[in-house]
Symmetry: C2
Subunit: 273 residues, 2 copies
Amino acid sequence: MKRTVFFISDGTGITAEALGNALLTQFEGIEFDRVLLPYIDTIDKARATLERIHKANNNDGVRPIIFDTIVNKEIREFIRTGDGFPIDIFETFLSPLEQELGHSSSYSVGKSHSIDEENRYKGRIDAVHFAMDNDDGALTKNYDKADIILVGVSRCGKTPTCIYMALQYGLCAANYPLTEEDMKEGIIHLPKFLENNKHKLFGLTIDAENLSNIRNERRANSRYASLAQCEMEVDLVEELFIRFDIPYINSTYFSIEEISAKILDITGIERKN
Amino acid sequence: MKRTVFFISDGTGITAEALGNALLTQFEGIEFDRVLLPYIDTIDKARATLERIHKANNNDGVRPIIFDTIVNKEIREFIRTGDGFPIDIFETFLSPLEQELGHSSSYSVGKSHSIDEENRYKGRIDAVHFAMDNDDGALTKNYDKADIILVGVSRCGKTPTCIYMALQYGLCAANYPLTEEDMKEGIIHLPKFLENNKHKLFGLTIDAENLSNIRNERRANSRYASLAQCEMEVDLVEELFIRFDIPYINSTYFSIEEISAKILDITGIERKN
């Protein structure tokens, strides 16, 4: 059975979507067809939205689920007149929060951002630029400015994790790939600029088979992608992490969101945004 | 008055945080002190959490707000015994959803990801690598694989917007900076590889004064950062957008989340994750 789900907002719809998806994950065996509708901020757009909801209702033979964070009351109530099953996120929580905080909410469309919010935002954007500039061992001289430096073999997930930590947490995250150049006589020699920043290092490892699959997508049938090579590199890197007491995670079974949250949890580094 | 807010989860805490921040934004004039506590998945960790909540209560002189998405019932109920004002996101919405869907939720910790979810995840990670590789006009030969190509002057917000679209929507987003090299005789000549992909182009512009401030942080007092230079570049780029009928947004007053959502809305490009 297919069930259409709408995420509707007069803003970006990011919150409606994040919450909705987290809730839907709890329902296995139901196939959801997801539709994101941001910036529904006029009655005309709301009317077109009701039409889409109506069509989904007819096609599915069952009413769609609606997750919404519409601040504008008129539009919110208009959407309520349609065929969907509404989950109103703001209305559900804002009223008890207003009571607890003894403060009425602004609950208004297009509220300008506060200075505090703007500074946190700027920090995140600066961190994204830092992560881009310091990807893949590009600028090791910047490591004194880094909040964290991820190390691991090529293609174990360092880059997207750094990007995520920058975007989500505002952290200046650099990463350095440990390659054959660092491996000599069956051991990895930690480069000087990493040893000088040992307290900032965090390791990523990965199952060799998984690594080989990922590398094969990039360079099929190369020595770089061979299982033997991947096993050798992973073994050496894990030995390094233990020898230098570098905390590490195996990225094979976690998403970058999970890896990032675990890194913060393990290191105690505080988010900046 | 300061008020401490805890985001608590036995997972990453991302949903609790996203929803909590969206709600708090509606309350101006209250200073919130935000604490993210992910992976509270044992009674021992829950006990330490209650201790932190208790301390915040004493320090602030008012009970903290708790946004939680704790799936484990025992831990959830244990957290409820503390001093905080609880906003229980899952409990509030899962029960009505179970009724509507005629299906009980799994509501269990550490549920493995579905194949569908894993494929969407892989698409997002691939898109992040694409955005990294195709930043700043690096690989124009890849433009046939791009879902969208952002164009604009240097430092107008192209890079973080591309990264966000990749991470959030799984879109292969490239970007190309329009520089003085493309500007001749008071006009911008659109490079051939861009003209061949004209339907994928989306423009970003920015207020010249804001651009000058941003560039000054990078290269203080340079010609590159001067207001005159910024004004000239912005004028030429906006003229180009109009001449080639390229849709565009002024990034000055929007976050990358807002810009990305607007781009999807304007172009009708469908997210891939």
